[in-house]
Amino acid sequence: MSWRAHGMRAWLLQRLSALYMLLFAISFLLYIAPNLPITYEYWSDLFTRPSIAVATLVFFAALLYHAWIGIRDIIVDYIHDTTLRFTLWVLVTLFLIGLGIWVALIVLSVVAV
């Protein structure tokens, strides 16, 4: 089985993605805090802005990548049968890619170009 990012690379990228998610979450909350309570108009207007859309897409990319490495770690730890490991691995990857495409479609459907 080939591991495109493994060892140091995976470890580092997992931490960097966590950092981005943390920064995004904090700045997003600070950004919307003055406008609480949030109305539907404000919320939908927010996501028409390309900068917000891009930051959100990067957030979900980081989230899915982070999860991908995490689940792979669990599989490598506990599942030693090669066929089962490979099958699970492919299913998890496809599932996460599917989620990614779904998220992208939703975010891109509201952004004003």
Partner: protein, 231 residues
């Protein structure tokens, strides 16, 4: 004082089992190793490894009331009864408390536990400043008892591929040595999904080390070195 001690004879037993023993006179300050010697005097079919009796040889690592320690450094007064003594987890049992440590030594050998020097050897010793020597404190004291590695869940799941905390601590001992010249080679050999990166900082290793060493911190230092190497 009541004891439950793991017994296993490969010729007659399918599985290890616990056997009850009772000792009546316990002098104050008695260590578990001395109690096991008395048990052995009661029942000479029982066996366990030990030698120095003072935490130097590293041969009497065992699982005492659920956590790994050296019997010779464990006072009976700190243990609740019945005192349950098993062999260290995750290692093939040879007999009673004696386990096969081959896997453990294999990983130790694999990290090349010796100085590698590419320059021509000097006429005298390889010198080192006192400050550089200080960097080896907390690393060189390891007695290879295996308490840490056999307490590590990552080692239980991948004992053939994950080096384990003891070997990784020694890997860092040579990485940290100013006289060693194989930093790159050592780091490269530890990269990849298994050898070091199965460690998830669970820190069982650090909590059980009878010499008070910190393999988990050493593993972190190796990661820092790798990161520096990458950038």
């Amino acid at each position: 004082m009541r004891f439950q001690v793991q017994r296993y004879n490969p010729e007659t037993d399918k599985l290890p089992y616990l056997k009850e023993y009772e000792l009546n006179t316990i002098p104050t300050g008695m260590m578990l190793r001395d109690a096991l010697l008395q048990i052995k005097a009661q029942d000479e079919s029982f066996t366990f490894r030990h030698s120095c009796g003072e935490g130097v040889c590293g041969s009497d690592a065992m699982n005492i009331n659920g956590s790994n320690a050296l019997a010779c450094l464990t006072p009976l007064s700190t243990l609740s009864q019945p005192i349950v003594v098993r062999s260290v987890p995750g290692m093939p049992i040879i007999r009673d408390l004696v386990v096969d440590m081959s896997q453990f030594y294999h990983h130790y050998r694999a990290i090349k536990p010796y100085l590698i020097v590419h320059d021509p050897m000097p006429e005298v010793e390889l010198l080192q400043s006192p400050e550089d020597r200080d960097k080896l404190d907390g690393l060189y004291e390891c007695i290879l008892c295996g308490c840490c590695t056999t307490a590590c869940p990552s080692f239980w799941w991948n004992p053939d591929k994950f080096r384990g905390p003891a070997a990784l601590l020694q890997a860092y001992r040579f990485l940290a040595d100013s006289r060693d010249q194989a930093t790159n080679q050592r780091l490269q050999e530890l990269d990849g999904p298994y050898r070091m990166f199965r460690c998830h900082t669970i820190m069982n290793c650090t909590s059980v080390c009878p010499k008070g060493l910190n393999p988990s911190a050493a593993i972190h230092k190796i990661k820092e070195l790798m990161l520096k190497e990458m950038i």
